[in-house]
């Protein structure tokens, strides 16, 4: 039997399938796994802020409160998170930042998936067989080795400083960084699916190689990359912030977490902690949220957890 003995023992009658059952299970799973729920809430909030953040703050992200008009005031009823060295309201900027950070992260991850998954499937399908496609897939892997051997941050820094600091360039750099991960994950899944019995069965049914690759191997090889993409979004946010922090990302004076932390860092030693701390907190929580969702998705999709 493919499943562990205990699982077999507590199996019930064969359930009917369908989307409603999947959704019911999702809800059941979410209630069981509190961390996943926390992650979902954080991810949901971040997406909400990316859509509406710039409009719902008490001030505009780049608006100086003419009433108080003072830079570096501490948290108060007027300015919940205080004001920064320019006099911008920190709270308004913190909740506006996902508009930049999240869009960069989502765009780069989506691009990386679009490039990485097909390449990975190609490498997995042809790997380990004689012929030119196999050599190509080997060559691809060696290139990835070189790419991944570079410290990820230095590489992004070099890329952005070579092409200039702009939102588009940060997306390009991140795509370049993330794609190899998806190539590897998809390749691994495809390789293991290639040796599955149902692939043999398809060949025995007379399926041509094209059908084996696109109808059997590829659809079953997507899950690892999709699960990893949640964590990747968190990573991308972190790197975006990092690049901005060192001045190679989003240009001043846009509302972006890394930039805000960097701008505020100078005031830290003067005891003015709020311009840096709040964006840092939001950054950390968001990255964690995406990581939690990724971990939860992995468990959710793992059939052996499904009893």
């Amino acid at each position: 039997m493919a499943q562990p003995a205990v699982l077999a023992d507590i199996e019930g009658p064969t359930p009917k399938g369908g989307l409603s059952r999947e959704l019911a299970y999702f809800w059941y799973f979410t209630r069981q796994d509190r961390l996943f729920l926390v992650g979902l809430v954080i991810v949901g909030l971040s997406i909400f802020l990316a859509a509406f953040g710039p409009y719902i703050g008490p001030y505009g992200p780049q608006e100086i409160d003419s009433a108080s008009g003072v830079a570096l005031t501490g948290p108060s009823g007027d300015h919940w998170f205080g004001t920064d060295n320019v006099g911008f309201d920190v709270f308004s900027r913190v909740i506006a930042a996902p508009r930049i950070d999240l869009v960069i992260a989502l765009a780069s991850t989506a691009l990386a998936l679009a490039i990485g998954v097909p390449l990975g499937a190609f490498a997995g399908h042809f790997g380990g067989r004689p012929g030119i496609p196999s050599l190509l897939s080997e060559a691809l892997l060696r290139v990835l080795d070189v790419l991944q051997a570079f410290p990820i941050f230095i590489l992004a820094l070099a890329l952005v400083s070579a092409t200039g600091a702009s939102q588009g360039n940060v997306i390009a750099a991140l795509t370049f960084l993330q794609a190899p991960v998806f190539v590897r994950l998809t390749r691994g899944a495809a390789l293991s699916n290639e040796s599955k019995l149902y692939v043999d069965a398809a060949r025995c049914s007379g399926a041509p190689e094209r059908a084996v690759a696109f109808r059997h191997v590829l659809p079953n090889s997507l899950a690892p990359a999709l699960i990893a993409s949640s964590v990747a979004v968190g990573q991308a946010i972190l790197i975006t912030a990092g690049l901005s922090f060192v001045g190679a990302g989003v240009p001043i004076p846009k509302a972006e977490w890394g930039l805000m932390i960097s701008q505020g860092a100078n005031q830290m030693i003067l005891g003015k902690w709020w311009p840096s701390l709040f964006p840092g907190l939001f950054l950390g929580i968001t990255v964690m949220g995406y990581a939690l969702v990724g971990e939860g998705l992995r468990k959710f999709l793992d059939p052996t957890n499904r009893i």
């Binding site: 003995a5 077999a8 023992d9 507590i10 499904r306």
Partner: protein, 269 residues
């Protein structure tokens, strides 16, 4: 068999909370295992055999839970023991052999060391003595060239050899009850016979009792004194082996027998 009860189980219920509601793989089970008796617990996949066997040594993890019943062993209720009490019983008094010997062995430790560890875990002997005892155990379970095999890692052993090592571990502290859950699953027929013969022989030699969990009535016919038939969480028939094969009563027992004979290529009335 000397008619003295070794393990008395009463009203045992184990539940699992699942997405589809609460399931009871063990639903009110009573039985007694006598000293020196070999009991065959048979049933189809999903009957609850494995959960029952695990419940006996309180080896049920969430979302599973033992919700009722007593398991009396030597006057104590195993289910009331704390973790420490359970550890003292498992391996020492009641030993377990599963169906996946390689999974039961530590892949990065030599089998001789693992055996010696087991010896030391329940008695305070010197390492050198434990290793000497481990060698004796390897010999006892019929592993050829035991001195060399002591230094082998689990992946270097065949499935049959690995299962012999697991049996040696189970018997290292001379338990009073050996529980074997499909111990020959995945092994070849000729190896299956060797392993079952080995278990039977060792159980007899140490006059221990055994609970053999299996789906195969043929195994029960040849290696057990008593049969417990399990269906949907309940034990539906208990009988001495010969009586069972000549005159089983419960409809499910008859269905199992019929299937077993049909598999052999014979019809039964």
């Amino acid at each position: 068999m000397n008619g003295k009860p070794l393990l008395e189980v009463q009203g045992l219920v184990t539940e699992f909370a699942t997405f589809d509601g609460v399931r009871r793989p063990v639903d009110g089970v009573d039985f007694v295992i006598q000293e020196g008796e070999t009991v065959g617990l048979v049933g189809e996949t999903g009957a609850g055999k494995t959960v029952l066997a695990r419940s006996l040594i309180k080896h049920i993890k969430p979302p599973g839970q033992i919700v009722a019943g007593t398991v009396l062993y030597g006057g104590r209720d195993i289910l009331q023991e704390d973790d420490r009490g359970i550890r003292a019983i498992r391996g020492k008094e009641i030993a377990w052999v599963g169906s996946n010997p390689r999974g039961a062995l530590n892949p990065v430790q030599r089998v001789g060391d693992q055996l010696a560890d087991v010896v030391q875990s329940h008695s305070s002997v010197k390492r050198s003595d434990a290793i000497a005892r481990a060698l004796g155990l390897m010999r006892m379970v019929g592993i050829p060239d035991p001195l060399r095999r002591m230094r082998a890692y689990p992946h270097e052993l065949s499935g049959g050899m690995a299962q012999r090592v697991v049996i040696a571990m189970a018997l290292a502290n001379e338990p009073r009850l050996l529980m074997a859950d499909e111990p020959t699953f995945g092994l070849d027929v000729t190896i299956q016979i060797q392993i079952l013969d080995l278990i039977k022989d060792l159980v007899k030699r140490t006059s221990a009792a055994a609970l053999l969990v299996t789906r195969d009535l043929a195994v029960v016919a040849h290696y057990c004194d008593t049969v417990f038939v399990m269906q949907k969480g309940k034990i539906v028939e208990k009988a001495p082996v010969r009586e069972f094969f000549s005159g089983a009563q419960h409809p499910h027992s008859l269905a199992l027998l019929k299937a077993a004979f049909a598999a052999r290529g014979e019809e039964v009335a």
